[in-house]
């Protein structure tokens, strides 16, 4: 049955199947054949596997389309538009700094002069209406990553807003120019990940290596918005935003509540607002520049010459709730199967020190732990503290309380640690047996403020 000539003839049908170009009847017939024909099945699998790579490669090529949109903008730009960066098209075309090639200046000038007049006429026209913009167009513009820079502003409930200039050449690297004058360069494409903090005023640098990490992507909110699948966007219409006409869309989900304002003509973002109620913070991204050609040296994580360097190593993987309970188990075990009166670095170091000196109260150690065992226990205990720190400082949980003093390890009835996540009605409670449960406030009441 597996006649090779017959299979050769079916190859185009298999391609049609993979591309979704085969009608249902033919597809069913072909699938029946492939159930018994290894050769055709292998070809379909090869095509399907290749298809994904092919599409992603064409997606990369498709990024080039953005260059024409910039071109259209240049042709449209007037000499002066109130509220917009007052650079003339002539100036922009002749005086561009990022990718200007001197040999093309004359042609650029000629084009600019011609465009300036048509653009000016277009903008001076009374009753000019912004063309309708679909949310899908905005998403299409940000679906494929474009190198960009923007002003990144975090607003918090309990402290002043914090703004910095963000540069993203790709999904793994970033450069932040902070208001206090420091510069942060993060490169998550390296194994392990590296973060460089420069203080040009003091000529000092901190090179941080994030242990236990490999190449990964840094969260990008434009991409998170583009990849949201469920729900609908609310059309907010056109209004002036940051001195420009902009078409807005509101797109919320459980964690991220996005509002994006985009250029009505190009669909490129002008302003992105993200509210994260569970983290009590709001992010505002403005002053976007897309398809920026960055100098690679901006993202070098090696300290420049002339700086004093401090090198630090940190665990680059955030601890989980499981790390919390594992660390608590280590601490309680070192304290003789009872939880200590407090969870601090000092307590951990003292219990470790007692254990290595053979003076720990219980369990009786026939031999003190080796240096390696001590190091492993320290790492686990510290990860528990780090988890608690993240709950407090990042997740800003309410009512975090430790009440483990002298509770026996294994006691399933007595809570040792609890907190109330933002927007949650229940407490998250760790019991003496290290089980973790969601508990109603009334059930926890007997232990509160004990």
């Amino acid at each position: 049955m597996n006649d090779s000539r017959e299979c050769q003839l079916r190859r185009e049908d298999i391609a049609a199947l993979v591309l979704g170009e085969l009608d249902q009847t033919a597809a069913e017939q072909l699938n029946r054949h492939m159930n018994r024909c290894d050769r055709c099945r292998d070809f379909r699998e090869a095509l399907a596997a290749q298809e994904e790579e092919l599409r992603s490669t064409f997606d990369v090529i498709a990024r080039g389309v953005g260059r024409v949109e910039h071109l259209a903008e240049r042709f449209d730009e007037p000499l002066h538009r109130p509220g917009i960066r007052a650079a003339s098209p002539l100036g922009r075309l002749i005086g561009g700094v990022k990718t200007m090639r001197p040999s093309r200046k004359i042609l650029a000038a000629a084009a600019a002069i011609a465009l300036t007049f048509t653009g000016l006429a277009s903008w001076l026209m009374p009753g000019r209406a912004a063309p309708g913009l679909a949310f899908a167009t905005v998403i299409e513009q940000i679906r494929v990553f474009r190198p960009y820079s923007c002003l990144y502003t975090w607003e918090y409930e309990d402290k002043a807003p914090y703004s910095y200039r963000l540069m993203r050449p790709d999904l793994s690297r970033r450069r932040e120019v902070r208001p206090e004058g420091t510069i942060l360069v993060s490169d998550l494409s390296q194994q392990p990940n590296r973060v460089l903090t420069l203080d040009p005023a003091r000529k000092s640098a901190v090179e941080k290596t994030l242990l236990n990490t490999g190449p990964r992507q840094d969260p990008d909110f434009l991409r998170i918005l583009a990849n949201m699948r469920d729900g609908q966007a609310e059309d907010l219409g056109v209004k002036e935003v940051d001195g420009r006409p902009a078409h807005g869309f509101h797109r919320p989900d459980k964690v991220n509540d996005f509002t994006i304002w985009a250029d009505p003509t190009t669909g490129l973002p002008i302003r992105l607002e993200l509210v994260q109620p569970t983290l009590s913070r709001r992010l505002i991204m403005t002053e976007f520049e897309f398809d920026v050609v960055f100098d690679e040296s901006l993202f070098n994580t090696s300290t420049p010459q002339g700086y004093t360097v401090e090198r630090v190593e940190r665990d680059g993987v955030n601890p989980t709730e499981q790390d919390l309970t594992e660390g608590l188990r280590v601490i309680a075990t070192l304290c003789g199967d009872r939880f200590p009166d407090a969870l601090t670095e000092g307590v951990i170091e003292k219990t470790l020190s007692d254990a290595t000196a053979g003076t720990a109260s219980s369990p009786p150690q026939t031999t003190p732990p080796s240096e390696e065992e001590t190091r492993a226990m320290r790492v686990k205990a510290r990860r528990a503290l780090r988890y608690i720190e993240i709950l407090k400082s990042f997740h800003k949980v309410d009512d975090l309380q430790y009440a483990g003093n002298d509770v026996a390890l294994g006691d399933a009835a007595v809570p040792v640690l609890w907190w109330k996540p933002k927007t949650s009605e229940t407490f998250r409670v760790v019991y003496g047996d290290l089980s973790v449960r969601d508990v109603a406030p009334t059930d926890l009441a007997p232990f509160l403020n004990k």
Binding site: V18, L71, L93, A111
Partner: protein, 177 residues
């Protein structure tokens, strides 16, 4: 000369010689047809990194000659024709595209090995197949769109697309060896 003052009207529906509407028309042309022009340039250049430059050169020429576009419904065919001519000239001259304003963003991924590999395989496809498959993947993965862009019957596009896809599979596998 026609005065344009029609809020909400699609710029693509406006007469091309209404110079007060040309700003919108340019943006609309870029938004609607840049992918197709890029596909045609990709299919007709010897070096993948020239495709973006030629796409831009196509639009520079088109934007400067909007009066030549009498029927906005034929904008795509008009742009594709300009792109093909520029590609032919470019291959004859064997020199980079020249009339691109310089402060525009540089090429996207000029040295991405995946693009080089794909372009090398595309270059070995027969005439007509290259444009078909490039248009298919760069312009919405719809054979109906390809048919409309090239002015070729849907059955011909389907035949070229499937044959090109099978050939591409073999060529890419061959390159992997």
């Amino acid at each position: 000369m026609t005065k344009i003052d029609v809020p909400g009207q699609s710029p693509a529906d406006l007469p091309a010689d209404a110079d007060s509407g040309t700003g919108c028309l340019r943006a609309e042309l870029a938004r609607k047809h840049a992918s197709a022009v890029l596909a045609v340039c990709l299919a007709n250049t010897e070096q993948p990194h020239d495709a973006e430059d030629l796409m831009q050169e196509t639009f520079v020429k088109a934007f400067a000659r909007l009066n030549g576009l009498r029927d906005p419904d034929k904008a795509r065919a008009w742009l594709v024709q300009i792109a093909r001519r520029l590609c032919i000239d470019h291959v004859r001259r064997r020199k980079p595209a020249s009339s691109i304003p310089d402060d525009l963003p540089a090429r996207t991924e000029s040295h991405d090995p995946r693009i080089e590999r794909l372009h090398a395989a595309l270059a070995r496809l027969p005439d007509g197949y290259r444009e078909t498959i490039s248009l298919y993947y760069l312009d919405g993965r719809s054979s109906a769109n390809v048919s409309a862009t090239l002015g070729v019957p849907p059955s011909t596009v389907r035949m070229r697309l499937l044959r090109a896809r099978v050939m591409l599979c073999d060529l890419l596998k061959e390159n992997d060896k």
